[in-house]
Each structure stands twice: as structure tokens, then as C-alpha cells.
């Protein structure tokens, strides 16, 4: 868990509202605290669109500065995190548009019609524990699978499964219907399963062989 997560949910909306009021009243330094819980979320959102770590960092910096300048226009009826993500998505899209790297939904839709959304058939699945992510190899497999998704699916998976936005918030952020969010999320998850499940299974088996039959779980308890 990161430090920002530790203070994130615990601070709650009322503390956030109090921070915003204080900042607008002149206690500007409090803005550092206000955005601290969301840095990771904003980075991953930006990365899902621009696909480049350095550029994603620039996007987040610009988005956060914009959020500060426009703080007076934030309305409490939306969650502050959703508002920040919306600004970040806009920044990222602005860059893509400028460089003609626009996400073209219609092309993705054509691709959708021809794509194969059949999951990888397995006869058994041994859970890959979160501890496996300590291995660079496993992290790389997961990163690559997400990176290789079609753009509109990567956006959905990032907002919904990585950032854990609700289906409704995701629909609002992307300006598409709840139905389309569900369809794309479903397909994106199947594409991830198809690609990753066999790879993870293989990596898990190799690890087991290397460790002389000791599983990730076993290794953890042993440590």
C-alpha cells in the first residue's frame, strides 16, 4: 500500500471538502494534501491513453495544475477523484488530438465485430497470488497484456478494473452509455484472460519447478 492510499479513503469526502474550502480561502499549500491520494490513479489513467510513461507524467502535471486553477468550479455533486480523472482524460486526449493520435472509436468498433472474444479454455486454475507480482516477469506479462488491448478497451479496463471506478462513473467519464461500458469491459476482460491465463499458468509451473515444487504461497510462509 502506498502512503497516498493510506490517507485516501480514510480522509473521506468531508475532509476533502474542508481542504477545498481552505484552499479557496487562501491556504493554498493544502492543495498538495488534496491531490496526494490520487497521484497513482491519475498516472495510470494518463498512461492508458498516451502509452508512454514520461508523457503520462507530463499529462498528470498539467492536469493537476489545471485542477488547481479551476478548483473554484469543482462542484461537490461529483466525487473529487472523478473530477480529477475527467481533467486528466481531457489533457491526455488533447495531446493525442494534437499529434493526430486520436482514439477512433469507429475503427475499434469495426475491429470489435471481427475480433474473437472466446476465452482461453483451461481445465483447472491455480490461483496466482498477489505475491507473484514481486517478480518482474509477472509484472511485465500483465503490463503487456493491458498495453496490447485496443485503445477503447484499455481505457475501460483502466478506469473500471485498475482505478475501480463504478460502471456509471466510467460511462460518464468516457461519454458512452452504461451498456457500452459493460460490453467493452466484458470483451476486454475476455481478451486479457485469453492472453494472460495461459502465460501465467506457464510461469507458475516454471516457478514451481524451479522451487522444487514449492508454490508461491509456500514460499511466502517459508519466508
Amino acid at each position: 500500500m502506498t502512503a497516498s492510499e493510506a490517507i485516501g479513503p480514510a480522509t473521506g469526502n468531508s475532509t476533502e471538502a474542508a481542504l477545498i474550502t481552505a484552499i479557496l480561502a487562501g491556504d493554498r499549500d493544502k492543495f498538495h494534501l488534496l491531490i496526494l491520494p490520487y497521484e497513482g490513479q491519475l498516472f495510470r489513467t494518463a498512461l492508458a491513453l498516451v502509452k508512454n510513461s514520461e508523457e503520462a507524467e507530463d499529462v498528470v502535471q498539467d492536469a493537476v495544475l489545471k485542477a488547481y486553477r479551476k478548483l473554484g468550479s469543482f462542484r461537490g455533486d461529483a466525487k473529487f477523484s472523478t473530477w480529477l480523472i475527467a481533467i486528466t482524460l481531457n489533457e491526455a486526449r488533447g495531446r493525442l488530438r494534437k499529434d493526430n493520435r486520436v482514439i477512433v472509436d469507429s475503427l475499434d468498433e469495426q475491429r470489435e465485430e471481427n475480433a474473437d472474444f472466446t476465452p482461453a479454455a483451461l481445465t483447472d486454475w491455480k490461483e496466482v497470488p498477489l505475491a507473484a507480482l514481486e517478480r518482474q516477469e509477472i509484472r511485465t506479462l500483465v503490463q503487456q497484456a493491458v498495453a496490447e488491448l485496443p485503445d477503447s478497451y484499455r481505457e475501460i479496463v483502466t478506469l473500471r478494473d485498475v482505478e475501480e471506478c463504478s460502471v456509471n462513473d466510467t460511462a460518464q467519464l468516457l461519454g458512452i452509455s452504461v451498456g457500452l461500458v459493460k460490453v467493452r469491459l466484458h470483451r476486454a476482460r475476455l481478451l486479457l484472460q485469453k492472453k494472460l491465463a495461459p502465460q501465467l499458468k506457464r510461469a507458475s509451473k516454471e516457478e514451481k519447478n524451479r522451487r522444487g515444487g514449492r508454490s508461491w504461497f509456500g514460499r511466502l510462509s517459508w519466508l
Binding site: 500500500m1 502506498t2 492510499e5 484552499i23 479557496l24 487562501g26 493554498r28 499549500d29 492543495f31 498538495h32 491531490i35 497521484e39 497513482g40 498516472f43 495510470r44 498512461l47 510513461s53 514520461e54 507524467e57 498528470v60 502535471q61 493537476v64 495544475l65 488547481y68 486553477r69 479551476k70 473554484g72 468550479s73 476465452p119 482461453a120 479454455a121 483451461l122 481445465t123 483447472d124 486454475w125 490461483e127 496466482v128 498477489l130 507473484a132 507480482l133 514481486e134 509477472i138 509484472r139 500483465v142 503490463q143 493491458v146 479496463v157 478494473d161 485498475v162 475501480e164 460502471v167 466484458h186 476482460r189 475476455l190 486479457l192 484472460q193 494472460l196 491465463a197 501465467l200 499458468k201
Partner: protein, 84 residues
């Protein structure tokens, strides 16, 4: 209704999110009780969703936060938020 594997696959995502209609959910569960393949597909999909949500997958670049707050500091020193 008895579902075949393909029907079950159509419901994987909503099954995992717990948003399926209770009747459909019961049909899916009846199928899963005897289908090893669909059970493994659902377990692996759920497992993958948990893995991709972990912070370690998309780690922040080194000193990301330091650079962000330094740049922010420059602005905070000189600018108020814009008047509404």
C-alpha cells in the same frame, strides 16, 4: 434454463461483478457446478482482474511525486485558483 458453455461465457464479466439477474446467476452457477472448464475460465478471469488492480503492475516512475509537487509548488507560490 440449462446453459451451454458459450452462454456462460457471455455472462462472465457480469457474473464476476455480481450484477447478473438472480435467475441467470442461478443458471450460470448450475452450469459451473459440473463444468470444470467454465469454472477455470471464471476463476482465472477473476484472478487476472485482481492482479491488474495491484499498484505494483503500473508503478509510478521514480520521484514522480517529488517532481509533481515541485512543479505544483511553483504555481501555488504565485497563483490563486481562478475566480469562478
Amino acid at each position: 434454463m440449462a446453459l451451454n458453455c458459450q452462454h456462460v461465457w457471455d455472462h462472465i464479466s457480469e457474473y464476476i461483478d455480481g450484477t447478473l439477474d438472480p435467475q441467470v446467476r442461478a443458471d450460470v452457477e448450475r452450469h459451473l457446478a459440473h463444468c470444470e472448464i467454465c469454472s477455470a475460465i471464471i476463476d482465472s478471469t477473476r484472478n487476472i482482474i485482481i492482479l491488474i488492480a495491484d499498484d505494483r503492475v503500473f508503478e509510478l516512475p521514480l520521484d514522480f511525486s517529488k517532481r509533481l509537487h515541485a512543479r505544483l509548488d511553483d504555481v501555488l507560490k504565485h497563483e490563486h485558483p481562478e475566480p469562478v
